[in-house]
């Protein structure tokens, strides 16, 4: 099978994120994003004007305003004009676009950022607007309800139970105690049913946050970072649109993306999985064939902080940062978008062995 492999070497050389908070009313979006951009640039010593390509991910529906992403461009110094693009998706897909841009040879470095402020609206209601507008959106099934249908399907299939789901949430929040940016960490009550079978502890916190990554090619990456996290494969796939057409207990799109990214060519030691709901981790572990030896979501994952549109990019950033720190040699990072793991992106990140 053809593989989504690089013809140029491209690495994540820097990663920064905000503290993820329930509300950030005192900050506009650019005011929230700008410190993160400054931090990620400072890690490399690059100035905004030296970046070859800039790409962002966000959603107007979270802000409730058209073209809201243009305001954050002020934070990257977009005058005089820069080479820039935007995806109305999680920033992981902005990273994919930047990776393609570098593959074409049109850029040697890229700044990728993503942000989401869920606090101005009701994110459960807002996310219903991404659903099929003919048969589904008029019923207003919210994001928790759809995730709960998936969880029940897994329970019916004997693949998990409520106790095992609670353990996923507990492990995530325990791991998040080592992550100063996390919104939820430590012991968090499992709580009442939100939409049964999902309890509060099975659901992600709702919050505001931002993240940024710098990509660089070849020797530029080596000059900017002591141990670059090389993206040796990256691919993204989508499921059929209708939820009732899918086997919600499986994620064939994740598996296919992983095959094409080369996940199964060699063992991974770390997996950063974008599983906003506990039951989705069960699906992803199966699709990616992750055994117990793999460290899953050491950052705490999306159950500890889930800034919508940034949480997937953060998974890539966290996996890369573990490679930068020498804590991982070969990691898989996953991002999702849409209901019940509708769209899935998988990247393999590797550090050079000493």
């Amino acid at each position: 099978m053809a593989r989504a492999r690089a013809s140029r070497e491209v690495a994540v050389v820097a990663f920064a994120q905000s503290d993820h908070l329930r509300r950030t009313d005192e900050l506009s979006e650019v005011e929230m994003v700008m410190p993160v951009l400054h931090r990620v640039l400072a890690q490399t010593g690059l100035k905004a004007g030296e970046i070859g390509f800039t790409c962002s991910g966000s959603s107007d529906y979270l802000a409730g305003r058209a073209f809201s992403f243009t305001m954050t461009l002020d934070g990257v110094g977009a005058w005089p004009p820069i080479s820039e693009s935007h995806v109305e998706m999680d920033g992981a897909w902005a990273l994919y676009e930047a990776w393609v841009k570098i593959q074409t040879g049109e850029a040697d470095t890229a700044l990728v950022y993503a942000y989401g402020k869920s606090s101005p609206g009701s994110v459960r209601d807002v996310l219903t607007r991404q659903l099929d507008p003919y048969y589904v959106a008029p019923l207003w099934p919210d994001s928790v309800a759809l995730a709960a249908l998936q969880a029940q399907a897994l329970i019916d299939a004997g693949e998990t139970d409520e106790e095992a789901l609670a353990a996923i949430g507990a492990r995530s929040r325990a791991d998040a105690t080592g992550n100063p940016h996390a919104q939820l960490s430590g012991a968090v009550p499992q709580g009442d049913y939100q939409v049964r079978p999902l309890r509060t502890g099975d659901c992600p916190p709702i919050g505001d946050g931002a993240a940024a990554v710098i990509l660089a090619a070849g020797d530029t990456a080596r000059a900017l970072c002591a141990r670059p996290a090389w993206i040796t494969g990256i691919d993204h796939r989508i499921e059929a649109h209708s939820l009732g057409l899918r086997d919600l207990t499986d994620s064939p799109s994740t598996r296919l993306a992983a095959e094409r990214a080369g996940v199964f060519d060699a063992p991974v030691d770390t997996a950063e999985l974008h599983a906003p709901f506990s039951a989705q981790e069960v699906v992803l572990r199966k699709a990616l064939g992750l055994g117990d030896a793999v460290r899953v979501n050491p950052s705490g994952g999306a159950l500890a902080a889930n800034p919508v549109m940034a949480a997937g990019l953060i998974r890539i950033g966290e996996a890369a940062a573990r490679i930068h720190r020498g804590e991982s040699d070969r990691a898989v990072a996953h991002a999702t978008s849409g209901p019940c793991l509708q769209q899935n992106l998988v990247a393999v990140l590797e550090g050079e062995r000493a």
Partner: protein
């Protein structure tokens, strides 16, 4: 010039409403018109599977599919989730189950609500039937919800005709060809630090800009960042009140709901001390006498949250060299 204190944040309700008008393809039209007539149609794929709700293209092969078949109004729950706290626009106001239902004769499942007394009354595999809405328009909400279709022992009721699974021509009188997908989302908007200071300044009839610490340009209105340098603008600067017309246009078409007589002049005005021009209407002078370099000042109306328009100050015009960088 002072370092910016953290202001009390402004907040205001923001309502976004959008009545998207969507046209339907032949399959969607037949399906939604059928619901109006209490007939449920699916579509048969090349490999013989029946999709309900129907799509116009096979999700695996991407081939166009048009073969409609009628399926039952009864079916089987494939998965469910108990919604104890319905949100405002959802199908039922009382606690209900979200369900995926595979209707009899279909191979795929439809998402909807199930009216049941409690979670103990719901399980995957249970038999359910459609409860039709009293008034139907050709929309998915013509199915009011599903309701249990089995006795207290969990046995299905007898007596209703089994689904035909027969081909259907999809032809109905007065077919529905479009839907209006109405939506409303409620937000609370907060403009952030820089714009809060600007709006609070306007309340005192002062215009507050922010200076970039790197290039020293003063932005009005400020958005908190210098788009050239990509850094926070931190120093507040009061600009104006007077300014200079840098360029303008004459508006001859009356906008709906606007009570300004045409023609009128809309201008870019560089307030004194500002590093870029803002927009404003020019009044107090015949429209054909407005010119680049005209010196103007704001005119506030009672209770106005911003200048209503700008009028000539009577000063001599500004030299072109003074404002040419701001055009």
């Amino acid at each position: 010039m002072t370092a910016a204190p953290t202001p009390d944040v402004l907040r205001a309700p923001l309502v976004v409403e959008f009545p998207f008008t969507r046209s339907l393809g032949p399959v969607q039209s037949a399906f939604l018109t059928g619901l109006r007539e209490r007939v449920v149609l699916g579509v048969k794929t090349a490999d013989g599977r029946v999709m309900v709700p129907p799509a116009e293209y096979d999700p695996v092969t991407a081939e166009e599919i048009r073969d409609l078949v009628e399926v039952g109004a009864t079916g089987t729950v494939t998965t469910w989730a108990w919604n104890a706290d319905p949100r405002p626009q959802q199908p039922l106001a009382t606690p209900f189950a979200w369900v995926l239902v595979r209707l009899d004769g279909a191979d795929t499942a439809l998402l909807h609500a199930l009216d049941a007394p409690g979670p103990e009354a719901v399980r995957s595999g249970m038999r359910v039937r459609i409860r039709w809405a009293a008034e139907r328009t050709g929309a998915i909400t013509d199915i009011a919800c599903f309701e249990p279709y089995e006795d207290e022992h969990g046995d299905p009721h007898e007596g209703e005709a089994a689904p035909a699974g027969q081909p259907h021509d999809g032809v109905f009188e007065d077919a529905v060809t479009g839907i209006v997908a109405e939506a409303r989302l409620d937000y609370v908007y907060s403009p952030g630090r820089a714009q809060t200071a600007y709006i609070n300044g306007l309340a005192e009839r002062r215009t507050i800009g922010e200076r970039c610490p790197s290039c020293h340009k003063v932005y009005v209105p400020p958005r908190g960042a210098c788009p050239t340098c990509g850094v926070a603008t931190t120093d507040r600067v009061e600009v104006g009140p007077a300014g200079t017309v840098t360029t303008y246009c004459i508006v001859n078409i009356k906008a709906r709901n606007l009570d300004i007589e045409v023609p009128y002049v809309y201008a870019h005005i560089a307030l004194d001390g500002a590093g870029l021009a803002l927009h404003g209407r020019i009044g107090g002078i015949p429209y054909d006498q407005v010119r680049m370099g005209l010196r103007v000042e704001p005119v506030w109306t009672e209770g106005g949250s911003h200048p209503d328009h700008y009028r000539p100050t009577g000063e001599p015009d500004a030299d072109y060299d003074v404002y040419k960088e701001l055009i």
